[in-house]
Symmetry: C2
Subunit: 350 residues, 2 copies
């Protein structure tokens, strides 16, 4: 299976790395004393190809979609919570609203495939691909055309944001049942057992966790594993919000923006994107280690070191929003801190 139109993500030129390193090391602090902020400053400088990076018009896109697999009893919450939570986002009352407001991040809520119709509302991007996916225990979650359409719309969405001036985009999601979908994708693409990929999601008990694992095992037996074809895997097990996020991430990196990757589901979308275009990882900042069990293994698979580990497991882009001030701090110290020379501070003597 192939994408309709060719997406190509360039490896950013590393030539600037030496000058960036020298700038970081000249700041009034012991070598390496700003830890992960230093690594982050280098990464952003390379992505933006400048010694003076800037973060402009940060946006978080929250992709929402429903999942047919909810019918198999994989979550304690009813499916209509996806719809209700989209209204909560639009009303400004969800966690992501609070954190995005706190940091001056614009929020877009994208209906990628929620069951039910929304009235037109400010802040809602109507991009519905279908009324929720099919249960992947019965057949593929979506059709080929739906998968391609979701990716195409995601790519258009981020292209429009970047056109409007944004150079840093966060990715979050909402979809009752989507940890099951994400765990199935991870299981295939990382060649891991479902047991290593599942977690308690919104709060499954032990019996529920085993049921979720069993659902994925049955689905894998039904569809087989085709890790060499990430799009086929996405179509089979994905959600509309996950597929649209894959397209949005690809589109953002294609245009050389910085990507803030939220939690378990968003990282799974990035995994799909990275299997298509590995260079996307050079544009990606991992925001938060989710409390969802599979996430730590998934991060290890991607050699990712998330900025935060606050034990959150909410999605919505909350991790991306919480990590944003750290990204700002990395850019801030690089641009604003004095050097040993400019401040007249003595360097080490050995």
């Amino acid at each position: 299976m192939a994408l309709d139109s060719k997406i190509h993500i360039h490896h950013p030129d590393q030539a600037l790395l030496g000058a960036l390193r020298a700038k970081v090391d000249g700041k009034t602090k012991p070598l390496g004393a700003l830890g992960k902020l230093e690594t982050l400053a280098l990464k952003i400088g390379v992505v933006q190809q400048t010694l003076q990076p800037q973060l402009v018009r940060p946006v978080i896109l929250v992709f929402a979609g429903d999942h047919g697999v909810v019918a198999e009893g994989v979550t304690p919450y009813p499916q209509e919570v996806t719809y209700q939570m989209v209204l909560n986002f639009l009303g400004g009352g969800a966690a992501i609203n609070v954190f995005a407001r706190q940091h001056g991040i614009a929020l877009r809520v994208v209906d990628a495939g929620v069951k039910g119709e929304f009235p037109a509302r400010d802040g809602l991007v109507a991009a519905k691909v279908g009324q929720g996916t099919e249960s992947f225990l019965r057949g593929p979650a979506m059709t080929y055309d739906q998968c391609a359409e979701a990716i195409r719309r995601g790519r258009e969405l981020t292209a429009a944001e970047i056109e409007a001036g944004s150079n840093v985009l966060g990715f979050g999601e909402m979809g009752i049942g989507n940890t099951t979908s994400a765990a199935a994708l991870m299981s295939v693409l990382c060649d891991m057992s479902p047991a290593d990929c599942v977690g308690r999601g919104t709060g499954l008990d032990d019996a529920g966790l085993l049921r979720k694992q069993s659902v994925i095992e049955q689905a894998l037996a039904l569809h087989g594993r085709h890790p060499a074809d990430p799009l086929h895997t996405l179509m089979t097990f994905g959600g509309f919000e996950i597929a649209m996020m894959v397209g949005a991430m690809l589109g953002a990196a294609e245009k050389r923006a910085l990507l803030l990757i939220d939690g378990f589901i968003a990282t799974t979308a990035l995994l799909v994107a990275a299997r298509l275009q590995p260079a996307i990882l050079e544009y990606s900042v991992f925001a938060h280690r989710s409390g969802e069990a599979g996430h730590t293994r998934l991060l290890a698979e991607l050699h990712a070191q998330p900025l935060l580990d606050l034990g959150m497991r909410l999605g919505e882009g909350t991790g991306a929003a919480m990590a944003y001030p750290i990204v700002q701090a990395a850019v801030g110290f690089l641009n604003e801190m004095a050097s040993f020379e400019s401040a007249g501070v003595s360097e080490r003597q050995d």
Copy 2:
């Protein structure tokens, strides 16, 4: 050894905890899904004795002092860097300036005992107790009177900030050689070997690390260990900036402010304060796990779970400043998020 005037820190009343927990659990998110933010929201609510906590006029105090023990070769940086960095703070070019500006935190630079005289400058609090401490390899680092005076001035400083309206105070420091002083304090008060308390500070090599450890071992042999007398221990091994921070922390908790504890040195000051008044821990938020080796053991001793782990090891209050938006987020979600009821979102069905 006793303090001149009685400081008493009250255990905050826990009666509100149930109502706070209910408020957190009613928010539109799965139970516990905001992880450490939830614990933090409960703590702040209890400290402020309200279901609607507010953070008002955040301040970070950076205490600077010089250390006689630098003469024993415990750091690769020359002593005058303390003085030079104070000027850098006042000029706005240090890391803490960048991060404090980013988050709208006022910064006070306190000369607790830097060698040399500063011209009067905006933002500099002149509270010098001495021209640096004596080397604790030769005798006690400071006199009884100096130690008491440092604590008294620290307590006055935070009282004045709280009087002016602040209810959240961060504590940072600058002092070439002060990881050696802090490691010695920790070694006595936690009854641990110096090897378990030292780290590379601003960047010691292996030989330097062994020398630092040996200096502390010799000093312990000279002075003995008196863990039951934290003030005597502070006088013997402390720095003026550490002693003044102890007083400032005690003064802040006495007036029921929230304390943001930075890295290794600030945590050591809190350790001294907590051995005097254990209730201070109920007012303390641990900002960041320092890259300095002893810090992880010290945090464990205090049963502390820091908010951040960014591999920074710079002091100056940088960890406290970086953690501030997380503290804001905890207050923000508690005050601003919708409840299941108000948002019309269905709760779990099992």
